[in-house]
């Protein structure tokens, strides 16, 4: 039995006079010892999905189960085994770090030692600081510590690395990997491809509430009809001349980023580089066969034209 199961979930709510389909027919599962990343631009429906699993929202249709339980009907017993990290806030600004940890420790039958968690999160020097004195990154790490203090079997992390500096991110990534090794089911949301690529066992990409792809990283990067060659060169190349030379279509996906729809044979690559060298043009980078997750993400969410508009 998966630790988390989401079957054909839809979450609609009314805003003004319109019905907003925040989540529209999403299905996935997370096994114990697995990190599933829910990836999508802001407003894609990630938080609505997670909040339904946490019992904050009603599903409009479909079914969600966590450890076999209904997050709303079985809320209390379920919360003993679930750790959550909200996207922001959740702690009284005047509460000290150590007080927050001791308070939450008292809610669980067999909690982790607050001092050990402080050490692990790199917050030992901040134990006596109040929430409002913490930096954004320190607040994130305290939220993560509170999610873990009850030794949960399932963890929901909503944008756990946003606002963190490099070392903070490293701490959070290490903690997430340790959770996976301990057999915890981890569902985390992010809009950052890099985080998904580093942490995910499996990725579910959603956009406008709909699932656009799901699978392991390897599956996603090999998937799809698009097995072309990607390269970077100066913007506004004469793509029709280049297409004619190579005998395969070339399109400029975004300024200076090109895709050549052809299997990456040595001949095609040789033609490409020869053409560029005749024009005395530089080649910025060249990728063939496998795509980066970014290519997959941009193609699936149709964000090429808008570039980084999701961030």
């Amino acid at each position: 039995m998966p630790a988390i199961s989401v079957e054909d979930l839809s979450v609609h709510y009314r805003r003004d006079r319109d019905t907003v389909k925040a989540v529209d027919g999403v299905t996935f599962g997370v096994e114990p010892g697995e990190v599933l990343v829910l990836l999508g631009p802001n407003g894609a429906g990630k938080t609505s999905t997670v909040e339904t699993l946490e019992g904050y929202r009603n599903a409009t249709s479909g079914r969600v189960r966590v450890l076999g339980l209904d997050p709303i009907a079985d809320h209390q017993p379920l919360m003993m085994h679930v750790g959550i990290m909200l996207q922001q806030g959740g702690i009284h600004p005047g509460m000290r770090v150590i007080e927050a940890l001791r308070l939450y420790a008292a809610f669980y039958p067999d909690p982790s030692e607050p001092g050990v968690l402080l050490q692990r999160m790199g917050l030992r020097d901040r134990a006596r600081s109040t929430w409002r004195q913490l930096s954004g990154g320190e607040q994130q790490r305290l939220s993560l510590a509170l999610a873990l203090i009850g030794k949960p079997k399932v963890v929901f992390l909503d944008e756990p690395t946003s606002g963190l500096d490099v070392s903070g991110r490293q701490i959070v990534r290490d903690v997430i990997r340790t959770l996976r090794d301990d057999g915890v089911a981890v569902l985390l949301t992010t809009h950052e491809l890099g985080e998904a690529q580093r942490l995910a066992d499996r990725v579910v990409i959603i956009d406008h509430g709909r699932m656009v792809a799901a699978g392991t990283l390897a599956e996603l990067m090999n998937a799809g009809e698009d097995h072309g060659i990607h390269f970077g060169a100066p913007a506004k190349l004469d793509v029709s001349a280049l297409s004619a030379r190579i005998g395969a279509p070339v399109i400029e996906v975004s300024p200076g980023e090109y895709r050549l729809d052809s299997p990456p044979t040595p001949i095609v690559i040789a033609d490409l580089t020869a053409w560029l060298s005749e024009q005395n043009l530089p080649l910025a980078d060249l990728r063939a066969g496998r795509h980066s997750l970014e290519d997959v993400f941009l193609r699936l969410t149709g964000r090429q034209e808008q570039g980084e508009s999701h961030s």
Binding site: G55, G90, H92, G94, F107
Partner: protein
């Protein structure tokens, strides 16, 4: 229900409260200052039965203190907890709503016990000699606390943190003026007086005053008003409270 969790939540809230000067000002300093000032400076009109200014003042100030902790302080605290996402986060912990409610009740009762002890000692020192039935006064305070807490949670659960702060403080000032706590209610214009008598502030002040004067009686009208508010206000709060 997990007793350790309720105790930890109660303790955490009391510790936070003890660090907030504005809460202590509202629940302790203002009632003490009003009590001391107006019993020493004989400015206020008082009922013929009251021998000394403090005899008229002490029951009303006790009522004011109850209102400030069970309505104003609860509303402001809960309003900001809601705004900061504290309630939302606790909702995903094993604490549970009944336990949270119990902890908040324990916090209010603790504060009220301290208020009653401090204010009574100050009033005794100023020469207050209450008669009547103290248990009746405590009963009225309990009933009024339920009513005020319902009003406070209704505000906190429907308005933003800052709006709750404004509304609770505004209500405090208005009820201080027309609640018969410091100024006798029979000096108000007749319409305002009859309106005031339907509100829990004046009802509590009247119930405590009558419980602690020589007679120790429980007049029907204020007790009925308190009972109605104690039923209606929590029901409204339950119906409209938004946790996030």
């Amino acid at each position: 229900m997990n007793r350790r969790a309720v105790f930890a939540q109660t303790r955490a809230e009391l510790v936070l409260m003890s660090r907030q000067g504005e809460v202590l000002l509202l629940t302790m300093a203002i009632p003490v200052i009003l009590l001391v000032f107006f019993s020493q400076v004989d400015l206020l009109p008082r009922a013929a039965t009251a021998r000394e200014p403090v005899d008229a003042l002490a029951p009303g100030i006790l009522a004011l203190a109850i209102m400030s902790s069970s309505m104003v302080s609860l509303a402001i605290g809960t309003g900001f907890e809601r705004q900061y996402g504290v309630l939302k986060r606790l909702g995903a912990s094993p604490l549970g709503r009944p336990a949270l409610l119990l902890a908040k009740t324990a916090v209010i009762v603790t504060v009220e016990v301290v208020q009653i002890i401090v204010l009574s000692l100050v009033a005794f020192a100023l020469g207050w000699r209450p008669g009547g039935n103290p248990l009746l006064a405590l009963g009225a305070m309990l009933l009024a606390s339920v009513a005020f807490a319902g009003v406070g949670l209704f505000l906190a659960g429907t308005l933003s943190g800052l709006m709750t702060l404004a509304a609770a403080n505004g209500l405090y000032l208005i009820l201080l003026l027309i609640g018969g706590m410091v100024f006798p209610i029979d000096r108000l214009p007749a319409t305002l007086e009859s309106l005031a008598k339907l509100l829990p502030a004046a009802a509590l002040a009247e119930a405590v005053t009558r419980a602690l004067d020589g007679s120790g009686t429980a007049p029907a009208q204020p007790w009925i008003v308190l009972a109605v508010w104690a039923t209606a206000a929590p029901a409204l709060a339950t119906r409209f409270f938004r946790w996030d």
